[in-house]
Amino acid sequence: MKFITIDKKDWAKGIEKSRETYRLFGPVKEKNGFLIKSLDNDMLPDMEYHDSVLSAKSVLFPQSEKMMTTSLDESRDGHHIMNRADADYSPRAVIGLRPFDAKAIQLVKLNFDTKEYRDPYWCDAYEATTFVGLGINKPGFYDFSTSAGSGPFNEEGLDVLLADMDDTYLAKVLTDKGQAYMDACGFKTQADAKESQALIDVLKKEAQKNIVSRIHTDKLKEKTTLELHEAPFWDDIAFSCINCGTCTYVCPTCWCFDIQDETKQKTTSRFKNWDTCMSPLFTLHTTGHNPRDTKTQRVRQRFMHKLKYFVDKYDQGTMCVGCGRCVKSCPVNIDIREVCNLMNAYEKQE
């Protein structure tokens, strides 16, 4: 594995240089906290950032994305026939990605890129993107990633892992894509592999030690789906829920979307918008029947999907990477850690 040392004095210059070939995304401080956004030409990623309110999923899966478009003007060729909308799939790089967000993107990939179906919008964006992660030296209070299949220096889904060494960044180049991005930045001071790995291991160990919050997931797989579904705790968990979309929108792995057509004069466009299973509209049929009509059913669905159905279907752990965003942002403090532990420990009373 190749390691590169980047002097922080050269950082800005290198990032600027990479703009010749890459569109950049990264953490930005806004009035409301940090967000992962497209970086305008005068903007650098804020590498000192605290956890962002929203995850990085929007880089590949924007909240609203135009998929197709057509003209309704009958004098035009091809009117009323939807064609894929223009989009920029030139190389892009996300800088300073949290390792748990990179892992989350790999989980989302299981849904958008399968043997049978390939979501072209997500997949084309994925292929265009280089993921440059930043190890988390001081994990936040809400981080429980180490017990959710990720961790502060987890490499899964990353092309480069940066470690903040005070005056320098130590870059662990994990893929060819990552190497290409380092080349585009002009970062090439190679560091000793063994020594560098040892330095990262020290940071990693220290960071992992700071994560005290954890979930227990070991028994989820062996539980009977229907027994969990019928468990007596769902009404209590759901009582406080106001059915807003906060948990699903801040979640890095929530991948559900809704399709909407919008027409303005003679142009129609088809959009893919984030959807949320917390909304009664999510499952509302055209007949008026709603199979998930009550909030308990909806709250149960969210947790069952993340912590049971997903576990059973993909055998890749839970659909939660432990970023803690929903725990922090939920207006009524519904805590996925508690729900997960309840589910994991649940035994049906005969």
Binding site: E30, F141, I242, C244, Y249, V332, N333
Partner: protein
Amino acid sequence: MNTCINKIREIASKLLENGEVEKVIGFANGTIPMATSPVVINSKQDVDKLVFNSTCGLNLANYVRNQKGKVAVIAKGCDSRNIVTHIVENQVKRDQIHIIGVPCTGMINKKKIEALFGDDIIEFTEDGDTLNVKSSTREETLNKKEYLRDNCTLCMHRNPVVYDDLAGDLVQEQTLENPYPDVDRIEAMDADAKWQHFQELTQNCIRCYACRNACPLCYCPTCFVDESGPQWVGKGQNKTDVDTFHFLRAFHCAGRCTDCGACVEACPMDINVRDFTRKLNKDSFEMFGWEAGLDITKRPPLDVYSPGDPNAFIK
């Protein structure tokens, strides 16, 4: 205020034991610092779950609709005003609800406190007007009065306006020379600056509808943004659609909003949604001498005909 919890538990326990109510709706401790969660208690054994402190910023009037049987609810000044609004708007009957009133000295502004620290808050306790806040790197002792939510600093109805039991001594109401300084600031802007202000205000809205869903006024079976036949607004992130939601919601709350602040409390993007509703509160007050939720016998001003109406066209 935090001493009233013993009284709340005592009242709740008595009501449940005597079968006067089937359940008690209140707040329980959260799993993270500065958080409490609405909870329903069905039996006397569980009353110790109830807590009351300066982090109970949501409005429990939002939880009393569609309940079977009689329920008791813990109500701050604003919650009680929204219960009145519910009664006036036929959402609950007065005799279905037992109000445990809690005189309130204000709820804390969690975002303002968080902003003092560069890292996450790991511990929060309060003792009277003193707040002790700890992050992983430092500790601060704060005066609660300086860290109240904006709506609480401007609140003139801290005591519940209607109640069946009272869990503490009534508190001194604030007298304010100008209860609407925030609205005045926006009114003083020229049209462009005003537009800019509201454009920036909703810039990061993700349309999670936490503001709407935390609001006790927003009980429409289907909100206009959720209608599909006809569909009134687009559902994506188009700014016009986002703003249409906020503008229309605010207008729908005109003359009904108690400025309880639940919308701002719930917003994950820290948007001061009250900038929309406050102007309408001020107008209601100045044009009709109206503050919502003070009187069970009066209908809101946009819902009644009055010979004293200031508008000429209606006379």
